[in-house]
């Protein structure tokens, strides 16, 4: 068992370092890559906090939709849709996938789900 800090705190510290101290002093051609690295450290911090709950919720939503608790829920739903789905199932799958994608976005791009179409 490791001592503290845990992954989210460490990743947060890495992100802050990159953003506040590294980014301002690197040459222009590396700045974009440092920004991406900062974003990824923040993303991993959120994943360390929210990932397990997001996976659990995805599994549950797909289990309800399919009526079975699959080992790989995304693959099972993909296979079900590939085999051919009627409009009623597709609409229910859409509702579940909106929830699942919201949870993915809470990790990889918070706020992206504020736009709902057009």
């Amino acid at each position: 068992m490791q001592f503290l800090p845990e992954a989210p705190e460490l990743l947060g510290a890495i992100a802050a370092l990159l953003d506040e101290q590294v980014l301002p002093v690197v040459p222009g051609d590396v700045q974009h890559q440092v920004r991406v690295a900062t974003h990824l450290a923040s993303l991993l911090e959120r994943e360390a906090r929210l990932g397990a709950e997001s996976a659990r919720s995805e599994r549950e939503l797909i289990a309800v939709l399919l009526g079975v608790d699959a080992e790989d829920p995304a693959a099972a739903l993909d296979e079900r849709l590939r085999a051919g789905a009627d409009d009623e199932f597709a609409a229910r799958a859409w509702e579940a996938l909106v929830e699942i994608t919201r949870a993915d976005l809470a990790i990889c791009k918070p706020g992206h789900d504020s736009w709902e179409g057009a």
Binding site: D29, E79, A90
Partner: protein
């Protein structure tokens, strides 16, 4: 490769074309272009200085079209009134500069999307640009595909429409993803169920006209860049839909077309210049383009994972897939 080598190589090649002694100076990297190197420089002949841009494709990098075909479609587009930087030379054997090469006029203005949108906010010329973009696409689609002097790539499959060809390609791409993405599968289902009628006429399509591949100034649209993916024959609505996708609005979500403006001035520009706009096909290609960019991002991440492109930017691409899945789901919302 040092800048000195590049300057000498460019001077040699331009000298051959122009039949004169050319001096090359002021070489600097441009920000535009991810896989290709764009270099700004000045060519001087008998005291006359011309600002130019060299586009160099690193040897070994895949070309979607040959550099000759890309230059040929740009030349045809220029003659047809499409704003495009004039090409001075192209050669596939650019040994002196490290790979296939094209040299074109330098056109001043902004290309980086957020800077473009700042300029638009400052000058209030978003509707003008959307209108100009529509008109530009109409002029491109009016060109005779058989008039391109070096053939462009095609996705021909006899008896199929451009939409059918695109859907077949996307289905293969989704099937081959290393992890199942049911949201993309649902998108394929929608595309299949809503497959549109073929276009009245297949046209040259640029395939990547969007905020980020445009040069924009206070006076509006100055040039369309990055013709490497042009297709000899496709649905013109593919080109209309692509710049209207959410990912090219750069947070200006209310302005459908590139963050510039809504679709009204854009369609008016297209129709005013003779384009034949079709709403159903436009909507279909928006869904297609969103799905296409999702599998494109997945492909970038695969190029990182298998070691072909060891770039953190490519690594991050895979984690952007849910953004496209969200945009896709919003576009295919089931009717209640």
């Amino acid at each position: 490769m040092t800048k000195l080598d590049l300057a000498a190589g460019l001077a040699t090649y331009l000298g051959e074309i122009w039949g004169a002694e050319v001096a090359v100076s002021d070489l600097s990297a441009s920000t535009a272009g991810a896989r290709r190197h764009n270099l700004l420089f000045v060519a001087e002949v008998a005291g006359e200085r011309t600002p130019l841009v060299a586009t160099i494709v690193p040897a070994g990098e895949t070309l979607i079209n040959s550099i000759e075909a890309e230059a040929a479609v740009r030349a045809l587009a220029e003659r047809g009134g499409v704003a495009v930087p004039h090409v001075h030379l192209q050669r596939s054997d650019g040994d002196l500069v490290g790979g296939p090469l094209m040299v074109s006029d330098f056109v001043d203005g902004e290309t980086v999307p957020r800077r473009v949108l700042r300029l638009v906010a400052e000058h209030g010329n978003g509707e003008l640009i959307a209108h100009q973009l529509g008109a530009t696409l109409a002029r491109l689609h009016a060109l005779d595909p058989s008039a391109v002097s070096v053939p462009l790539r095609t996705l021909d499959a006899p008896g199929t429409s451009p939409a059918e060809r695109a859907l077949a390609g996307l289905t293969t791409a989704v099937d081959e993803l290393p992890r199942a993405r049911p949201a993309l599968r649902l998108g394929l289902r929608w595309l299949d169920e809503h497959l549109p009628a073929p276009p009245p006429r297949e046209t040259i399509v640029h395939t990547d006209v969007r905020n980020g591949n445009l040069i924009v100034g206070a006076d509006g649209l100055r040039a369309v860049l990055d013709w490497e993916g042009a297709l000899a024959s496709g649905d013109p609505m593919q080109d209309l839909a692509w710049p209207a996708l959410r990912m090219w609005r750069f947070r200006e979500d209310a302005n459908e077309v590139g963050g510039f403006a809504g679709r009204a001035p854009y369609i008016a520009g297209y129709q005013g210049a003779g384009g034949d706009f079709d709403d159903a096909r436009f909507e279909w290609w928006k869904v297609e383009g969103t799905l296409r960019w999702a599998v494109g991002l997945a492909a970038q991440t695969m190029a990182f994972l298998d070691g072909r492109v060891p770039s953190i930017v490519m690594a991050a691409s895979g984690r952007r897939v849910p953004e496209l899945e969200w945009d896709l789901l919003m576009l295919i919302r089931p009717a209640r």
